[in-house]
């Protein structure tokens, strides 16, 4: 392979060292590495990578700036489309989006777009955050609140933050209502700090606040205020980005035993409430020595890797299909394996057994084989008869997916809900059945990725602008 085809690998901490704490695994490029990587870009006349980006960052332009060493130019370019570049550079599944379409992929390895995005966002932070002057001058919006029109955004996850940022830049007065004690949604309670440090989340949210967005925490809309209350308070339009917060269970015997958690509970205790610092922090977590995470998405991998960091000795991923069908990002699967997570593939738990104290002590599983592709295009797992076996485990984390959060929908009967609990919206405008109320992110799609939610938030912001312009 010629030199320019070799992609600069992401510097990372050694597996042994990193499972001792919750600090970030990836360290980020140096300036030199970033420039070398950026120079690999062919600067295609018709760049395909942009088509793979749900928020349509002008990727070649961003990379061109980096190649020239103009990092400020690069970050400004990225932020025109993406208010959360340090986050996306860390958690986007680039291999199925921008990097999948990179021409260099056919010749070998695509340009490391995600790593570069992360680099410029972190570079900006480390070179400018201490400068108040820079923040005020470069980051705040000249037309803050210029339109004098109030908009309410419900939920401060990726969809809500993106929608709010875009609307604020257009000159609207935006208020985000968040039910938890801190903003960020899944970025805060779901994704662990070793993948996305809390400093990065704080920094990106600070940026959005600097755009003029007001964030009110501890506000569970639907309970404390209805949508009608918000309209009565003179909000002219509402965006619902309440996410997929409802954990799914398998409904198998023993699933309510102690030490069987939903991934949401396990991760929220750790990430939001800092149970890994118990007893310094008050929120407890009971994690045993033999842990199984059920499922194979990013959430399952995150749970397994958290368990390792809590001191578990044997951590397994139990998944009913094969490795090829695992929906998690490639990098997460790789990192999990490096750290010692074992994969029990083509395996399905069917029952958990209890010890005398009501805690899980064993799982009964069956082996599966793959049949014809199902509706999702993935080969359907079929149980193999008489393949039952037992596994000693003392902690289970169920990470088989989340459904849209039903609370607001239940308290607002005018909102139409589809079969799997998804909020029904107009496909083009993302408007719900209620005039002036829009929605996007996991609440309409079911659990998906951060960047897809951000894409929806962006589209909704533009629809809200159109809606209000017509009024």
């Amino acid at each position: 392979m010629s030199k320019e085809l070799v992609r600069k690998s992401m510097p990372q901490r050694k597996a042994k060292e990193r499972i001792g704490d919750f600090q970030e695994v990836n360290l980020g490029y140096t300036e030199e590495q970033a420039i070398l990587e950026a120079k690999r870009c062919l600067q295609c006349k018709k760049p395909l990578c942009i088509k793979g980006c749900p928020v349509e960052i002008d990727i070649p332009k961003m990379i061109e700036y980096i190649a020239k060493g103009d990092f400020i130019g690069a970050i400004k370019n990225a932020k025109e489309k993406n208010a959360l570049p340090a986050i996306c550079g860390r958690v986007c599944p680039q291999e199925t989006q921008c990097e999948k379409l990179c021409i260099l992929k056919h010749k070998g390895q695509p340009v490391a777009i995600g790593n570069l995005e992360r680099f410029i966002a972190d570079w900006e932070a480390s070179h400018t955050t201490n400068s108040k002057e820079y923040n005020n001058k470069e980051q705040s919006e000249p037309n803050r609140g210029a339109k004098g029109i109030k908009i309410a955004v419900i939920g401060s996850g990726p969809a809500g933050l993106t929608c709010a940022a875009d609307l604020a830049r257009m000159g609207y007065e935006v208020t985000i209502f968040e039910s938890l004690s801190e903003p960020g949604g899944v970025l805060r309670y779901g994704i662990p700090p070793f993948r996305l440090s809390r400093g990065v989340v704080d920094r990106e949210i600070e940026y959005i606040k600097n755009l003029g967005v007001d964030i009110k925490v501890n506000m569970l809309i639907g309970q404390i205020k209805s949508l009608n209350n918000l309209f009565a308070e003179d909000y002219k339009s509402i965006f619902i980005g309440t996410g997929a917060g409802l954990p799914r269970f398998m409904n198998i015997p023993g699933e309510n035993l102690n030490n069987v958690y939903s991934a949401n509970e396990f991760l929220t205790r750790i990430n939001l409430m800092k149970a890994f610092k118990f007893p310094e922090y008050d929120t407890p977590i009971a994690c045993g020595k033999k842990v199984a995470a059920i499922g194979a998405g990013n959430v399952a991998i995150d749970s397994a890797r958290c368990a390792l960091r809590l001191g578990a000795q044997e951590v397994s991923i139990i998944y009913r299909r094969s490795e090829q069908e695992m929906p998690a990002r490639d990098e997460e699967i790789l990192h999990a394996k490096e750290e010692g997570v074992k994969l029990f593939l083509l395996t399905l738990p069917v029952e958990y057994y209890s010890d005398e104290k009501g805690c899980v002590k064993k799982a009964r599983c069956i082996k599966m084989e793959l049949g014809e592709p199902d509706g999702s295009g993935r080969r359907r797992p079929i149980p193999i008869e008489n393949s039952d076996f037992e596994m000693d485990i003392d902690t289970v984390v169920v990470a088989i997916g989340q459904s849209p959060n039903p609370l607001l929908l239940h308290s607002t009967p005018e909102l139409k809900v589809a079969k799997y609990g998804n909020l029904v919206v107009d496909e083009e405008s993302l408007e719900t059945g209620i005039k002036g109320v829009f929605a996007g992110g996991d609440i309409i799609s079911g659990a998906a990725t951060v960047i897809e939610a951000m894409g929806a938030g962006k589209r909704a912001a533009s629809s809200i602008d159109n809606f209000l312009a017509k009024k």
């Binding site: 039910s179 938890l180 004690s181 309670y189 925490v217 501890n218 506000m219 569970l220 309970q223 404390i224 205020k225 917060g245 409802l246 954990p247 269970f249 409904n251 699933e255 309510n256 035993l257 102690n258 030490n259 958690y261 939903s262 949401n264 509970e265 929220t268 205790r269 409430m273 800092k274 118990f278 007893p279 310094e280 922090y281 008050d282 929120t283 407890p284 977590i285 009971a286 104290k357 009501g358 959060n405 039903p406 609370l407």
Partner: protein, 281 residues
């Protein structure tokens, strides 16, 4: 930040916290609860709302100092603040005219019962109240509840007040008359015992379940409870459930999930404070 207006002792180890939150006060209904967190390192705990004061935009929360967090809460004084307060959470109770209602409160569960009694009375029901506790000094709100009740009974385990014995002993006698609804709030074993009596008699019985919660908004499933064939989340599907189908034994186990960690937390706290409840207030 949420300002504390009052935090005073009602009975040994039981305190009333009045905290300001005009938005929650406007919306809260009987049976609903809040989740609070004292400070940045604190845990989120659910507590039911015992009363509200619209004129002051404040809520009354009655709690028992049992663990580290409630002990720490007990040390806060007027003018101090809670970092987080979210609510109202859970479904409100179904307040209507049923006829004759027996309302049973055990221990700190009496606090949850109080807004129900007021609402049921207002809806035109005949109110029979039974309050139970270990011993005389642990009662609170009993005068207020007596004033709202058509019949009023007290039981204590040690016989120091009212009738000696359990609330269920009295309940047996009272169910000889026609009863349209029983609502019981208290320790899980008490609610289970109430169900043992009312189920064979086919009396509609509601219980309000206290479970371990984290967010309190339906996101984590920490509070899951088996009701009949279904798994419910007490925070959003409850906290009130029909008693006949609740799997109390499972819930009793589930409520001990973190007993080891709770003991560690409390021990550390006790070492710091010399094992005494806060003398303040």
């Amino acid at each position: 930040m949420f300002e504390i207006l009052v935090n005073r002792e009602l009975a040994p180890g039981i305190k009333l916290l009045e905290v300001k939150s005009p938005d929650i006060t406007k919306k809260v209904k009987p049976g609903q609860f809040i989740v609070l967190r004292i400070n940045e390192k604190g845990e989120r705990i659910p507590l039911t709302v015992a009363d509200k004061h619209p004129e002051r935009g404040s809520l009354d929360i009655i709690y028992q100092e049992v663990g580290k967090t409630t002990r720490e809460l007990g040390c806060l004084g007027k003018g101090e603040f809670l970092l987080d307060l979210v609510g109202p959470l859970g479904k409100p109770g179904e307040i209507a005219k049923y006829g004759t209602i027996i309302l049973i409160g055990g221990g700190v569960g009496i606090a949850t019962l109080f807004p129900y009694i007021k609402a049921f009375k207002k809806a035109g029901n005949k109110i029979i109240s039974i309050l139970g506790a270990r011993t005389k000094e642990l009662f609170f709100l009993e005068k207020e509840i007596e004033n709202l009740s058509d019949e009023f009974y007290i039981t204590t385990d040690d016989g120091s007040y009212g009738k000696k014995g359990f609330v269920t002993d009295l309940l047996k006698d009272l169910t000889e008359k026609k009863i349209d609804l029983v609502l019981a709030v208290g320790p899980l074993v008490m609610m289970k015992a109430v169900r043992q009596i009312t189920k064979p008699l086919k009396i509609l019985t509601w219980v309000s379940l206290n479970t371990i919660m984290l967010d309190g908004t339906g996101m984590c499933g920490s509070c899951r409870v088996t009701v009949g064939d279904e798994v419910k989340f007490a925070c959003v599907d409850g906290p009130e459930f029909q008693a006949d189908k609740v799997d109390f034994d499972e819930l009793i186990f589930r409520n001990q999930r973190f007993s080891k960690e709770e003991a560690i937390s409390l021990n550390i706290y006790n070492e710091k404070c010399g094992n005494k409840r806060c003398p303040k207030n």
